[in-house]
């Protein structure tokens, strides 16, 4: 495939810019255009182009405008709070920011977003709500499901002008106490995860949407959230090759345009104490570039996360990440950190010829992707987000994913009491109903109680009293290993009535509530999954999902009942 290998003279580096066989080809790279652009950029412009920034609120802040106009940042990462989770507002915001960049004659911006589906989504209105990776992997034909979901996401994002999807998650989740990955992963089998990551990546690329696999070299076996501390992955290199690295190697082979690094420490890759992968030259350059041969864009995870800033400033972390080998640095909300980082990078690039050359490579990678994915041409939004057809497909994917592992109490009959949390998923979105509210619309004789993730004894007592007045109980759960109070609630309910545990996040909740009569994995705590789970619990629809992860000592990959 001649278009897969393109020489980029400015950096003197061969970039593998891959378009997969089965999807529509991207435009042929206009290499001279990239060369010209990069060659024309000052150290300060280069430093800016390597930076992504974020802002608080729905109004474009003066600081953000200054970062775009004055310092030429390469991209903006968008969070729900910037557009109230609303697609139309997002589209307007992207358009406004594009206009600012155009007026400043900056290189057009990356607009990046974590629209993974399931647990992590930023757009909750006006776009299609999709089940997450683990749910898709649970459907009977995961490859087809992942292809459909990625195509829908690409359609939605392109329709809104968002041009950089920070997905798919390529972590192999094999740690039941992982607080941050879990249902964002395609599962615990490296080969299956690898295959689905490849499909998602190729589908995004085929739909002309830039995407990014994360969190290199694998965040699935950690027990600490890198937002709050520095997780340690204490495994051998052989194990990394057999498990964690498998999906990333597959993604590189499938031509992923970008990889995001994790803020975790892996002694087997770099023995330096307290040094996260993101700041490790051995990982970011020796492993990624030299050993794995990745020539695309290497992105950091959020530089404000606790894993980094416990030991250094955000600006210093960004600089160190660049020096270690990162191309695109995700700064967050702190405006002084943004300007400080830009100054440091500019100074560093100016003072050091080697770093100047490095910045040339990084900026060339950035601009190359902007060129290839049509961003340089500010193509603007195209198509419609949240079409009825796509919503119907999302509903069906959710229904296909529901996995029944234990069927006591099912299908629901008689008087049903439902205790369920509001917004159990890690990324909050507004206006989501509880499982109880959805079931109450579906079945007669449903009473409900909305619980917090850490119910008090009074909450438990109230729930038990309601349970006694019912024939069967449904308990929506989220991360029982983190919330023993929920496990206590499950135990108290099961002691008085058959209780069906519906895990709204990871399949591991059964480990903390082993005695429940029924166990259903929904993988996601919001629509359309809640409607899908109601279909199965009520008996209106036979379950079809199978488990994509091993639940140690209890369930194996592939477990799942086909009829109730």
């Amino acid at each position: 495939m001649n278009r897969r290998r393109l020489l980029l003279s400015a950096a003197g580096t061969a970039l593998a810019a891959c378009a997969p066989d089965r999807t529509a080809p991207l435009r042929t790279l206009n290499a001279s255009r990239v060369d010209t652009l990069v060659a024309s950029m000052s150290p300060a412009a280069r430093a800016g182009q390597m930076m992504s920034v974020a802002f608080h609120g729905t109004k474009i802040t003066p600081a953000l405008e200054a970062m775009i106009r004055g310092r030429g940042v390469g991209g903006v990462i968008l969070y729900s709070e910037n557009f109230d989770g609303d697609a139309a507002k997002l589209k307007t915001l992207v358009s406004d920011l594009s206009r600012i960049a155009a007026a400043a004659k900056s290189v057009p911006l990356f607009f990046s977003i974590d629209q993974e589906g399931g647990a992590v989504v930023r757009i909750s209105r006006g776009a299609t709500m999709l089940p997450g990776n683990m749910a898709l992997a649970a459907t009977p034909d995961p490859a087809d499901s992942v292809r459909k979901a990625a195509a829908i996401t690409a359609r939605d994002l392109r329709a809104l002008g968002v041009n950089f999807e920070l997905a798919p998650d390529a972590d192999v989740n094999n740690e039941p106490r992982n607080p941050i990955i879990l249902n964002r992963s395609f599962g615990s089998d490296p080969q299956r995860v690898a295959a689905l990551v490849g499909i998602a990546t190729q589908t995004f690329t085929g739909a002309k949407l830039l995407s990014c696999v994360k969190h290199f070299p694998g965040h699935g076996a950690t027990t600490t959230d890198s937002h709050t501390g520095l997780p340690l992955l204490d495994v051998t290199r052989a194990r990394l090759d057999a498990v964690e690295l498998v999906p990333f190697k597959a993604a590189i082979a499938a031509g992923t345009p970008a990889i995001m690094s994790a803020h975790i420490r892996i002694g087997a890759l770099d023995p330096a104490p307290d040094l996260p992968v993101t700041l490790s030259r051995r990982v970011m350059t020796d492993l990624v570039r030299t050993e794995l041969g990745f020539t695309g864009l290497l992105v950091t995870d959020d530089l404000e996360m606790g894993a980094l800033t416990q030991t250094r400033s955000e600006a210093q972390a960004g600089y160190d990440a660049f020096v270690a080998g990162a191309d695109f640095l995700l700064f967050r909300f702190d405006e002084s950190a943004q300007t400080d980082a830009h100054d440091r990078l500019t100074r560093g690039i100016t003072a050091d010829a080697a770093l100047l050359a490095r910045s040339g490579e990084s900026v060339a990678r950035i601009v190359t992707l902007k060129e290839r994915f049509g961003i340089l041409d500010t193509a603007g939004p195209s198509g419609t987000a949240g079409s009825d057809a796509d919503r119907a497909t999302a509903d069906e994917l959710a229904r296909l994913s529901i996995t029944v592992l234990r069927a006591g109490g099912l299908p629901l009959r008689g008087r049903v009491f439902v205790a369920s949390p509001q917004n159990p998923d890690i990324a909050l979105v507004t206006e989501q109903p509880t499982l109880g509210a959805v079931l109450a619309q579906r079945l007669p004789n449903v009473t409900t109680q909305t619980i917090t993730l850490a119910p008090t004894q009074a909450d438990i007592d109230r729930a038990v009293a309601s349970a006694r007045a019912a024939d069967v109980v449904v308990l929506g759960s989220a991360d029982l290993f983190s919330y023993p109070q929920q496990a206590a609630l499950a135990k108290a309910l099961q002691a008085v009535r058959p209780t069906v545990l519906v895990s709204l996040r990871s399949p591991y909740d059964i480990l903390s509530a082993p005695g429940v009569s029924g166990y259903v994995c929904a993988y996601t705590g919001r629509e359309p999954t809640l409607r899908a789970v109601a279909d199965v619990l009520s008996g209106a629809r036979a379950p079809s999902g199978t488990l994509p992860v091993e639940v140690p000592g209890v369930y194996r990959i592939g477990d799942g009942m086909k009829n109730l």
Binding site: A407, G408, A495, R497, T499, P514, S517, G518, M561, L564
Partner: protein, 492 residues
């Protein structure tokens, strides 16, 4: 279906709560559990709807695993040992024995069986085949049909025919006989010292009758019978289970253990170690009423600890038993009315007058009651004193005076002292003697041997304080009915 079963089919499990714990449901689906046993005191039984839903889950779990429903057992003997209180509750075996008519045992067993099948229960761990030759036996007592081997055999056989005819398996228990002891194997180890000839003439007679009548299972006792085997309790004794039960008595059904976690056994062996020993001795079903981990591990212990030939023989019996008694849970309504009517009818025929002639009844009464005591873990108590008071007030209105504190109530009419196994309670016995010094009537609500406390006064015996027995007693005390029963035990 038998080919699909493994050593797990030999494991019977009990649990806590109104729903089968999820781990057990999973284990049923995987074939690790072969039967369930329900108890009211553990919260397993609260309403027909709840029991049906619970057992439907079990049947579904087994079906998904490609197996027939697991058989589910209860101790629905009648009298003090009843697990299901919402349907028709029958008087005790000894009350049925007191009616003098074995046909009552057959009718009662059939009605009990219909009620159990309505709940999806296919196994009744009854009848008690023990002969209550020891008045101080704390665990058998009124659970036995009497103290005459031939009479007990007649009633046992009738019960077996009635239950089996209605599709509910019977468990003749506690093999080879738990009657001749004054200790409870729930608490301690027990020896029955009778020689072989005495056992043949007494203990074994009802078991032969039960087997002859077609009992689907026999339950072993955790008792040592030195005349049969010096080394092992019956449950673990090849001489008793294999040689005596299978060989001499020709039993070809399911040999099941009493609960292996009873302390009479756990004092000598851990439950884990006894599993294989029991099956090697000839047992086909091991009962583990508690301990989920132990229940889930049992399959493997049996697979490792029992030679393949013996294991496959036991699995074969378990499979045949399961095909027949692992039943579906019905959907249709069930009318308990006929069963309740029959239970009351049998209770009325069981009330027995002993000792001197009763005073004229039908006028005012002064009634003393004592709080019932639980003699053994097998008993699951209600509140019989309050019920008796209500029944008498319904009949006599203001003409009855009560006391529950051991004092003689003020009022007119004969003094009626209602004892509750006072033979096992010295303080209560003293109080009853003192109250009845000036005459009156002793009502023995539980142990019939209470009648011997004050031989100078007439006694009325109910052989248990289930509601129908109390109702029948109330009718006698207010002069509406005669005491027509005949003593099935000797009071000496």
């Amino acid at each position: 279906m038998g080919a699909r079963l493994s050593s797990g089919a030999l494991v019977w499990a009990g649990f806590d709560g109104p729903a089968v714990p999820g781990e057990l449901l999973d284990a049923i689906g995987r074939g690790q559990i072969g039967g369930l046993v329900l108890f009211a005191y553990r919260g397993n039984v609260s309403s027909r709807q709840q029991v049906r839903a619970m057992l439907r889950d079990c049947a579904d779990a087994a079906r998904r695993g490609g197996r027939p429903p697991v058989p589910v057992g209860v101790d629905q003997e009648g009298g003090s040992v009843v697990r299901i209180g919402y349907g028709a509750v029958f008087p005790s075996a000894m009350a049925i024995g007191a009616t003098g008519d074995p046909a009552n045992a057959e009718r009662a067993a059939r009605a009990v069986a219909h009620g159990l099948r309505a709940d999806g229960i296919g196994v009744n761990h009854a009848p008690v085949c023990d002969i209550n030759v020891e008045p101080r036996n704390p665990v058998i007592g009124t659970r036995s049909f009497g103290d005459d081997p031939q009479q007990v055999a007649l009633f046992v056989a009738a019960w077996v025919r009635g239950s089996e005819g209605a599709g509910v398996a019977t468990s003749a228990k506690h093999f080879p006989g738990h009657g001749a002891t004054s200790y409870d194997t729930h608490h301690t180890t027990v020896d029955v010292g009778a020689d072989r000839r005495a056992l043949d003439a007494r203990e074994l007679v009802p078991f032969r009758a039960a087997i002859g009548a077609g009992a689907a299972s026999v339950m072993s006792a955790h008792i040592r019978y030195p005349a049969l085997d010096l080394d092992s309790i019956a449950t673990l004794s090849p001489r008793i289970v294999r040689d005596l039960l299978r060989g001499e008595l020709g039993f070809s059904g399911l040999a099941i253990t009493d609960a292996l976690d009873m302390s009479g056994l756990t004092q000598v062996e851990t439950p884990e170690r006894v599993l294989a020993r029991a099956v090697n001795a000839g047992i086909d079903a091991v009962m583990l009423t508690t301990g989920l981990e132990r229940q889930l591990d049992a399959q493997e212990q049996l697979a490792l600890g029992v030679p393949p030939a013996r294991l496959s023989e036991a699995i074969g019996r378990a499979a045949a038993f399961r095909d027949r008694y692992g039943v579906a849970v019905p959907e249709d309504e069930f009318d308990d009315g006929p069963g309740r009517a029959l239970a009351l009818q049998i209770a009325r025929a069981s009330i027995t007058a002993a000792g001197p002639a009763l005073p004229p009844l039908g006028g005012p009464l002064r009634v003393v009651t004592f709080a019932a005591q639980r003699l053994s873990p097998v008993e699951e108590l209600a509140d019989p004193e309050a019920r008796l008071e209500r029944l008498l007030r319904e009949r006599l209105g203001p003409r009855v005076a009560f006391s529950a504190d051991g004092s003689a109530p003020q009022g007119d009419g004969p003094l009626v002292v209602c004892t509750s196994s006072a033979s096992f309670d010295a303080a209560q016995a003293d109080r009853a003697r003192s109250l009845l010094r000036e005459g009156g009537v002793l009502c023995a609500l539980r142990s019939p041997y209470d009648a011997m406390l004050v031989p100078s006064v007439p006694a009325l015996l109910t052989y248990g304080d289930v509601p129908v027995s109390l109702e029948a007693l109330a009718d006698v005390l207010c002069g509406r009915a005669e005491a027509r029963g005949r003593l099935p035990v000797r009071l000496a």
